[in-house]
Each structure stands twice: as structure tokens, then as C-alpha cells.
């Protein structure tokens, strides 16, 4: 989230698209309702009429996988009717930048496409520079090659009738949504966009979110209270685990992993590749070197490039992400799998194929509270033949969240501490203890090795105490970072150094533990202004509660709205002050040429309306991998930058055989793969059965009654479920046909107190062109009554 949960109450209009917080983030609704009590308007856009839709002023029906068309039409409406925030767009975004003549767009394709590689040469979309290397701009936004004009032209194709022919939204409703949301472009008004996996889990997921960001920038809704682009994250610490680099291509703090590319042969070459020449990221070498000092301590020296070659280098160009990992397992390239609270047998796409792949492993380690479908994939009840599966499985019992201590980071980036309330149950242990004991054992095994390949293990420091129980305070101090000589805690990430004199496990968290106080433990719930609760816990970065808050003030540094003050320039004191920690150099005044550059992480300091990601600099609608109609916007059906994995893992269904559009979702009473919630009595009793929601019209066509046992099939598999015949789904009237749409929860599996068919046995094994997130949210299927 750019903003945070309490801040939702300051919005004038909230648009919830691809999320259902009333059921999946129920307490967030406390703050949404406060906005509505003050006269705010709620828009809900979803394929299904959810409990969130029930609370909304207007509900827009949207076929799964058509967000870019939906938002594109809104952007067109705003541009055509000049409803955007003019000063903000001209001064705070890259609308005025002139794009190179090599940029073009024609019939769904941008310039620079390589068909063989399914990728673009992004240099074709670069900004035009003058002789001194400065980006050319037209502040009047009239140059036909400026971002604003290119965007206007691009989106002019997203007229209302074409859009609703794709999305299936009623025209009157769509226009109402455009008008209501565009009203936040007025100076002083705030609109917020809330999204979740309904936005991301598509082959165009990243461009869906880019569309939301473009809309928000046009309306001047970023950086202000009650605004923002807000991802409603689904796990208690999925924000933290991402921050801490548990992804193949990220180390902590959103920095890159070295590869075998030529540039990466030396640390300096690698840093040159990953460090931009402008924007706050110019400090990356300080953060990277400090991180390596936290890994290798005194063994990271200037003469060994601070331990750079100890780090594993990815094979250049190889994708190691979740689906490709299972592809590798399918090809028998993987021998071992370690699972720390993870259940892909229920949560992974095309789960049936992923489960099959598990038996190719030599060994598996599962660390969990409950027996999961993944850890028990070899059992008879999983449909397996145990004797034929040679995988050795070790299950390590983990303790629950309040049986240990440590911090988690919520969606609003608040790092909150959890104290230990009780001893771990039985012989279970905290994951911290498990990884500590494992690391100590492995360190011991490698202790006397002189093999150069073992040097990273020997060089890695592990100084968290000599007992089996690690001292968590020492871990916290290392994450924040300290001076290597004096061992004094570093106060802020601005103090980190690239000469090896400081360490910091994760630069974005540097500052949570200055001196001798762990600020994630703070419990002062005083609202000192704009519900930012600056003394409650700690928010990264630098305890800022609203990102890019410089943009909450106008070109003179005064708040756009008196009732919505983020930070303001205080001329008398010569600094930025207000209700938040400035996301800006605190004493940078109006005389500085970069005074009006609020987006400090970006080269040039402007919000990116135009940004080069894999499938193009401006979002364009493509149909999902499986879809019921030809693309109305171009002759290009699928996102041209999507990469394919193992063919055998990814069977594709055709609309003639699977005519129904399907999507998956979550329920209040269960959580993710259900491993925790289906193993508890009360929650199991509240929702004991797998069900599929189908419209009354589809039920009639198929001869299905409410509560009938049905079978849902896709090109990947079949599952059994109960039919829930509902008015929440309606047939979609598209351009040239009517299609049915169904939806189902994905929480079920064969373990726990209650069991049921896993929706992910149906979902495709293909993902987004940038993030490789699977396209769980839009696929084709058929339903029939079970005999």
C-alpha cells in the first residue's frame, strides 16, 4: 500500500477492483465505512456481486481478465472530458516527456518486437534527450510526441461501447463509475484504489496495476491522504517476506541478484548495471555492501569485493520463479524441496500436475503447524500409491504465531511486534529456532572444509548465541544494521556506507532499531494528525506512513487541501513539516530545481504515466490465455510478452469445449490453502464444503439445482463440489455473445477436519509477462451434474 488502513477513512471515493475486503480483510471495512459515513462513495468492480459490492454505492460487473479495458475506458473518459488534475499531471508526472521517434503502436503491438524471443527492445520507447543528456519536455503537453499526447491517442480507442462489449458492464453503470471516480481529479479531492489478487493474477497482471497507477496519477491521487494505490495483501507477513528477498530475483530491500551476465563478473560491474544514474537508487551500492556485511561480516572485505563472489549467481536469462521451479521438478532437475509454511499442492496453479512432480523429488522437508496436502502427497488419501513414491519426507513441527516472538509487516508497511504468550505447543519450535539449529549444524559440517565451493558457508556469519535458541534481539540489530567498528546501531539508511564500515540486513528497515529501542514494539496509539499514528510500531521506510507525500502539497509546497495535510513547506523554519515523516529531503526548499520532483525513487522524480515494462510502456488489453472471445482492441489475442513453460504442465482449453469463464476467490472463514483453518473446529464447521457459485440462468441451462453435487472440468482436470445457485453471478452480455461466469473458493484439499476439491486442479500454468504470477483468476471450464 502507498497509504495504510486507517487512512482509507479520508477518501472521497473508494474504488475496489479485484478485491473483496468485506470478506477477505473484514476489519479494513471499519475505515471504509467511516469514509462512507462522511459522504464518501464506494465503487465495487468485480465479476461477482460480493459482500463488498453489497456495501457499495455502485457495483460494476466485470468479466475476469478485462481490467485494462475497464480502466482504459475510464482514462479515456477523463482525458476526453479534461477531468484530470492539470497542475499535478504537468508538474509531478512524466506527461511532458518527449518520446523517441522509434516509438510506435499499431494493432496491439508496440515497436521493437522480437517474435522469436517474445520480447521487446525497450530502447525503442526511450525518452528523447538533448546533447547534455537531459530529457526533452513540453510543459504545455501539446507536442504530439509527448507522453500525454501519445497516451491520449492510445486510449482514444477505449471508447465506452468497445469497452463494455469486452467487460460486459452495463453502459449506464459504467458511465456512473467513470463520472464518480473522475470527480476526485478536482483539486482537494481524494480517491483511492484498493486491489488484491483479482488484479494481479493474470497474464497482464502488472499492466492491470499500472493502469490503476496511471489513473491515480492523472487524478492527482498519489501521495495524498485518502488516495493511493493500495494492494490489500493476504498474508500476515507477505509484505515482510517480500521485503526480505525470499524471491529468486530479489535480495532484501528490492535489489537484484547477480547473474552470469558479463557485466556481473565483478562487483563494480554488477553495481554499475543495477544502479541508476538518477533518483534515490543512486545509493544502492551503500545498501548492497551493507547487506553483504550482514551476511559475511568481517569476511567481506574490500579485497574480496565485499564477498560478492560468495553470493550465488543466477544463470543469466533463466527464470527461477514458482512455476518454472515446478517445471524443473517435473523434468527431475530438482532433488530437494524445503517448505517453510507453504502448501503448493493446494495453492499452486494446475495443482494436479504440480503434485505429480513432487514424487520426482529425492527428499522434502516440510516445516508447518499442520499436516498439509503437500507434505502428505505420497499418502493413499491423496490418491497416490505410496510404495511407488521414493521421496524421503521430514516433517518439522513449527510453533504458532503467539508461541514465539518476532515482527510482521502489514499491508500498510507497519512492522508490528508480536510477543510470546505461551510456550511452543508440544515439541514444536519457532521457525527462527529451526533455521538457527539447522544453520549451526551445517556450519559445523563445513567447518574443516578447504574446498573453495564451501567458502560461502564458512564465510557466512551466524552470531546469534551459542545455544539452540537464537537471541532474536541480535537478529533485529543485524537487520537494522550497525557500525562494524563501534557496534553502534545505525540511525537511518542515509547513514549506510559502501566502504564496508556498516552492515544492514535490509536497508528499507534500517532505522527501526536505532540506539537501544526496537521501534516495532511501540504501542502509543495517539493520533497526532491525519490518523497516521506515528508512534505506533514502525513503518518502512523511515517511519513514513504515506509514500510520495511530497505530492500532497502543491508547486509552492502548500497542501492541495486544508483538510488533507500531509506535509507542507515551512518557509520560516526552512523545512518540510506536517502530519507525516517527509518522503523528501527535509530542507529542500523552493529554490532547489528539484523542489517539484516528488517521486524520489524515479530518475527525474516524476510519476511514471509512461514506463517501460515487458509488454509495453502503456497498458494494452489482451485476452486471458483461455478466453471466450476474440480481442476487440487488436488482432493480438494473448499478451505478446508472456513466456511459456513446460508444455506438459500447461494444457490449454478451448471455448468450444469449455465455454464458461471461471475465477477463484477466498472466504472470511478460511485462509489460503486452508491448512490452518480447515484444521480448526469452529472455522471448519462454519464453512464445511467446497462449493461453486453459478448463476440461476446457467443452473437452469444445465439442469442443476441448489446444493446439487456437480463436477467442474477444465483442460487440466476435474473437481467435485456443491452447486451454490446464486444471483451474485449474472450472464455476461459481450459484444457478440452472452457468456456464463462462475466462481469458486480455492481453500479446499484432502487434509484437515473438512475436505473438498481443490480449485487449483483447474487453473492454468501460465503467468504474467513481468512477475510470472499465475493466471488463476481467468480460465475456461465446464460444469455438469454429478450422476
Amino acid at each position: 500500500m502507498t497509504n495504510h488502513w486507517n487512512d482509507l477513512k479520508h477518501a472521497d471515493v473508494l474504488m475496489i477492483i479485484g478485491a473483496n475486503p468485506a470478506e477477505n480483510h473484514p476489519i479494513s471495512f471499519k475505515w471504509i465505512l467511516k469514509a462512507l459515513e462522511k459522504g464518501g462513495k464506494l465503487i465495487s468492480v468485480d465479476p461477482r456481486f460480493t459482500r463488498t459490492s453489497q456495501m457499495a454505492n455502485v457495483y460494476g460487473q466485470l468479466r475476469s481478465g478485462t481490467d485494462i479495458a475497464f480502466i482504459g475506458g475510464m482514462i479515456n473518459y477523463i482525458l476526453e472530458n479534461e477531468l484530470f488534475h492539470k497542475e499535478y499531471v504537468a508538474a509531478y508526472t512524466n506527461a511532458s516527456y518527449i518520446v523517441e521517434d522509434t516509438y510506435s503502436f499499431n494493432d496491439g503491438m508496440f515497436s521493437g518486437y522480437d517474435k522469436g524471443k517474445r520480447s521487446y527492445d525497450k530502447t525503442k520507447w526511450a525518452f528523447k534527450k538533448d546533447k547534455e543528456g537531459k530529457t526533452l519536455k513540453d510543459p504545455t503537453l501539446k507536442d504530439p510526441k509527448c507522453v500525454f499526447q501519445l497516451m491520449k491517442k492510445h486510449y482514444s480507442r477505449y471508447d465506452v461501447d468497445t469497452v463494455i462489449g469486452v467487460t460486459g458492464t452495463a453502459k449506464e453503470t459504467y458511465l456512473d463509475i467513470c463520472k464518480t471516480y473522475a470527480s476526485t481529479g478536482e483539486v482537494g479531492k481524494a480517491g483511492t484504489i484498493l486491489y488484491a489478487m483479482g488484479g494481479t493474477q493474470h497474464t497482464v497482471g502488472t499492466q492491470n496495476i499500472r493502469s490503476y497507477a496511471i489513473l491515480q496519477l492523472l487524478l492527482g491521487n498519489i501521495g495524498i491522504s485518502g488516495g493511493g494505490v493500495n494492494a490489500l495483501r493476504g498474508e500476515s507477513n507477505v509484505q515482510g517476506s517480500t521485503d526480505f528477498g525470499l524471491l529468486y530475483d530479489n535480495v532484501p530491500g528490492y535489489m537484484q541478484v547477480p547473474t552470469t551476465a558479463e557485466s556481473d563478473y565483478t562487483y563494480q560491474g554488477f553495481l554499475d548495471r543495477i544502479t541508476p544514474k538518477e533518483g534515490y537508487w543512486i545509493n544502492k551500492p551503500k545498501f548492497y555492501t551493507s547487506m553483504m556485511k550482514s551476511f559475511y561480516g568481517d569476511n567481506a572485505t574490500k579485497s574480496n569485493e565485499f564477498g560478492y563472489h560468495y553470493l550465488p549467481k543466477l544463470s543469466a536469462g533463466k527464470n527461477y520463479s514458482f512455476m518454472r521451479l515446478f517445471d524443473a521438478m517435473h523434468r527431475k532437475e530438482l532433488e530437494g524441496l524445503l517448505l517453510f509454511g507453504s502448501n503448493p499442492a493446494v495453492g499452486g496453479p494446475n495443482a494436479g500436475k504440480e503434485i505429480e512432480s513432487l514424487s520426482n523429488l529425492k527428499w522434502m522437508v516440510a516445516v508447518d503447524l499442520f499436516e498439509t496436502e503437500t507434505s502428505s502427497f505420497w499418502q493413499k488419501e491423496a490418491g497416490a500409491d505410496p510404495a511407488s513414491i521414493q521421496t524421503e519426507v521430514i516433517f518439522l513441527p513449527a510453533s504458532g504465531s503467539f508461541e514465539k516472538e518476532g515482527s510482521v509487516t502489514n499491508s500498510g508497511r507497519w512492522m508490528q511486534y508480536r510477543w510470546q504468550a505461551i510456550k511452543p505447543k508440544g515439541e514444536s519450535k519457532a521457525d527462527l529456532e529451526i533455521v538457527h539449529m539447522l544453520a549451526r549444524r551445517l556450519k559445523e559440517m563445513y567447518k574443516n572444509s578447504s574446498n573453495p565451493a564451501d567458502m560461502p558457508m564458512k564465510a557466512m556469519t551466524w552470531d546469534y548465541g551459542e545455544s539452540d535458541h537464537p537471541d532474536i534481539d541480535l537478529v533485529c540489530r543485524e537487520i537494522n544494521g550497525y557500525d562494524m567498528k563501534t557496534k553502534q546501531q545505525v540511525k537511518k539508511f542515509g547513514d549506510l556506507k559502501d566502504d564496508g564500515s556498516t552492515c544492514s540486513g535490509n536497508w528499507i528497515y534500517c532505522g527501526f532499531y536505532p540506539e537501544n529501542e526496537n521501534l516495532s514494539k511501540r504501542r502509543d496509539s495517539t493520533d497526532e494528525g491525519m490518523s497516521n499514528f506515528l508512534n505506533w510500531s514502525y513503518a518502512w521506510p523511515a517511519n513514513r506512513r504515506i509514500l510520495y507525500n511530497r505530492a500532497s502539497a502543491d508547486l509552492n509546497g502548500k497542501a492541495w487541501s486544508k483538510t488533507r495535510v500531509g506535509i507542507e513547506w515551512n518557509a520560516a523554519e526552512g523545512k518540510w513539516k506536517g502530519n507525516d515523516v517527509p518522503d523528501f529531503v527535509v530542507d529542500k526548499g523552493p529554490k532547489d530545481p528539484t523542489f517539484n520532483d516528488p517521486f524520489i525513487m524515479m530518475a527525474g522524480g516524476k510519476g511514471a504515466l509512461f514506463a517501460s515494462i515487458n509488454e509495453g510502456p502503456i497498458p494494452e488489453h489482451y485476452e486471458p490465455y483461455e478466453n471466450p472471445m476474440s480481442n476487440s482492441f487488436s488482432s493480438v489475442q494473448l499478451n505478446p510478452a508472456v513466456q511459456f513453460g513446460e508444455e506438459e504442465m500447461n494444457a490449454q482449453g478451448d471455448v468450444s469445449k469449455y465455454p464458461i469463464v471461471a475465477t477463484t476467490y477466498r472466504l472470511s472463514e478460511h485462509w489460503q490453502s486452508g491448512a490452518m483453518t480447515r484444521s480448526q473446529e469452529w472455522l471448519a464447521e462454519l464453512v464445511p464444503h467446497m462449493f461453486v457459485e453459478i448463476s440461476e440462468e446457467l443452473a437452469k441451462e444445465k439442469g442443476i439445482n441448489n446444493k446439487d453435487k456437480i463436477i467442474v472440468s477444465s483442460a487440466r482436470g476435474e473437481i467435485n463440489a456443491y452447486a451454490m445457485v446464486t444471483k451474485r453471478f449474472k450472464p455476461y452480455k459481450l459484444k457478440d455473445k452472452t457468456v456464463h461466469h462462475i466462481g469458486m473458493p480455492w481453500h479446499f484439499g484432502y487434509k484437515g477436519i473438512v475436505t473438498g476439491g481443490s480449485a487449483n486442479r483447474l487453473t492454468p500454468h501460465i503467468g504474467d509477462a513481468n512477475s510470472t504470477i499465475p493466471e488463476y483468476k481467468a480460465f475456461l471450464c465446464d460444469v455438469r451434474r454429478a450422476k
Binding site: F295, L311, P344, F395, W414, A439, M445, R523, M676
Partner: protein, 188 residues
């Protein structure tokens, strides 16, 4: 009442329970007499954060010995102000569920059942498996470049863990052991 809600946690046992009751609008003196019967009257609440979604609601846990007696929404928490959803409300059962696995277990190749084992056995197995696969599949150099990696062991998980755990996991598996297949729920 002179106490602010923030002071609530600093107060112990009976007094805290009395305050909570008074805030619900009960008669002060009557409630004070009643508190002696409350199971949590003698217990100190421990603040925690809900383990499910990322709203990050505060929960107070009242435990005694090896039992979680009671849990409730943290009234001081600025986001949930004491309220909780169906999952947050039932968080006690994450501890009390009979389905919890409380001992390490081992499944031998080809076997159709788990066998309970001790921690020493389990950890030794894990460490040996990792070392054996890593050492055999490890690529130290490739075309003259030190690459220090293994593409034969994968790591998954982290979204339900603490930050401190994530830090140590990424440190051990990437910086120490050289794994490349490191992924978790954020990707899916």
C-alpha cells in the same frame, strides 16, 4: 476512570479485568466483586498480531501454563480497536487444535506412514540431505566466473513467518548454501 486505554496493558490481572468490564457499562462495584470468578482475572494479556491477513489487527492472548485461556481483539490497537473477524476471533484454536503436529515425523522412501522421530534425528537428516545434494550438484565456477550456486534444491515459503525468520532463511539458503530456487507466496 482516570486510566487511559493505553495504560490498560500496564495494569495487571484483576484491575485490568475490572476496567474492561466497566468500559462495557457495568456497575463498577458489582463488577469488581464478579471479576474474581473470571478465568482471566489473574492472567496477564500478551499483545500479538493476527496471523492471517495483512490488515495486522491486534489481539490479546491470555494464557496459563500450557493453555490459552482466552483471546480477544486488542482495544488499544489503532486499526481494529478491539474488533476481529471470524478467523481472528478463533485464533485460540490454532493452539488448541488436536490436528497440530507436535513431534517431528519421518516418512521413509516407499513407506505408507509417518514415524515419529526426535529433533536430533530429524535435523541431522535434513542437514545431511542438504549437504549431500548441494555438494554433489554445486557449481563453483562456470566459464571462469565464480557462480557458487546449486539449481537442485528449492526453497518455498515465508509469508506466514516473522521478519526475523525471513532474514535468517534468506541468509542461510542464498548467502550461505547458494540456492537459486528461492520463492514464496508473493509470487503466486
Amino acid at each position: 476512570m482516570e486510566f487511559t486505554r493505553r495504560q490498560f496493558l500496564k495494569l495487571s490481572g484483576a484491575v485490568a479485568a475490572t476496567l474492561a468490564v466497566v468500559e462495557l457499562g457495568f456497575d463498577d462495584k458489582g463488577a469488581q466483586a464478579k471479576t474474581r470468578e473470571f478465568k482471566i482475572a489473574e492472567l496477564k494479556p500478551t499483545p500479538t498480531i493476527c496471523p492471517y491477513c495483512a490488515v495486522g489487527c491486534g489481539i490479546l492472548v491470555y494464557s496459563k501454563g500450557d493453555d490459552v485461556v482466552y483471546t480477544e481483539g486488542d482495544p488499544d490497537h489503532p486499526i481494529n480497536e478491539g474488533s476481529l473477524c471470524s478467523k481472528g476471533t478463533t485464533v485460540r484454536q490454532v493452539y488448541t487444535s488436536e490436528k497440530r503436529i507436535t513431534k517431528p515425523m519421518y516418512r521413509a522412501p516407499g513407506s505408507d506412514k509417518w514415524k515419529e522421530v526426535d529433533w536430533d534425528f530429524a535435523l541431522e537428516k535434513v542437514a545431511k540431505n542438504i549437504k549431500e545434494t548441494r555438494d554433489r550438484t554445486f557449481i563453483h565456477k562456470e566459464k571462469g566466473l565464480t557462480v557458487n550456486r546449486t539449481d537442485s534444491i528449492a526453497y518455498l515459503g515465508g509469508a506466514a513467518l516473522d521478519n526475523e525468520e525471513c532474514h535468517l532463511l534468506q541468509k542461510l539458503f542464498r548467502a550461505g548454501l547458494g540456492l537459486t530456487y528461492i520463492e514464496h507466496q508473493a509470487r503466486i
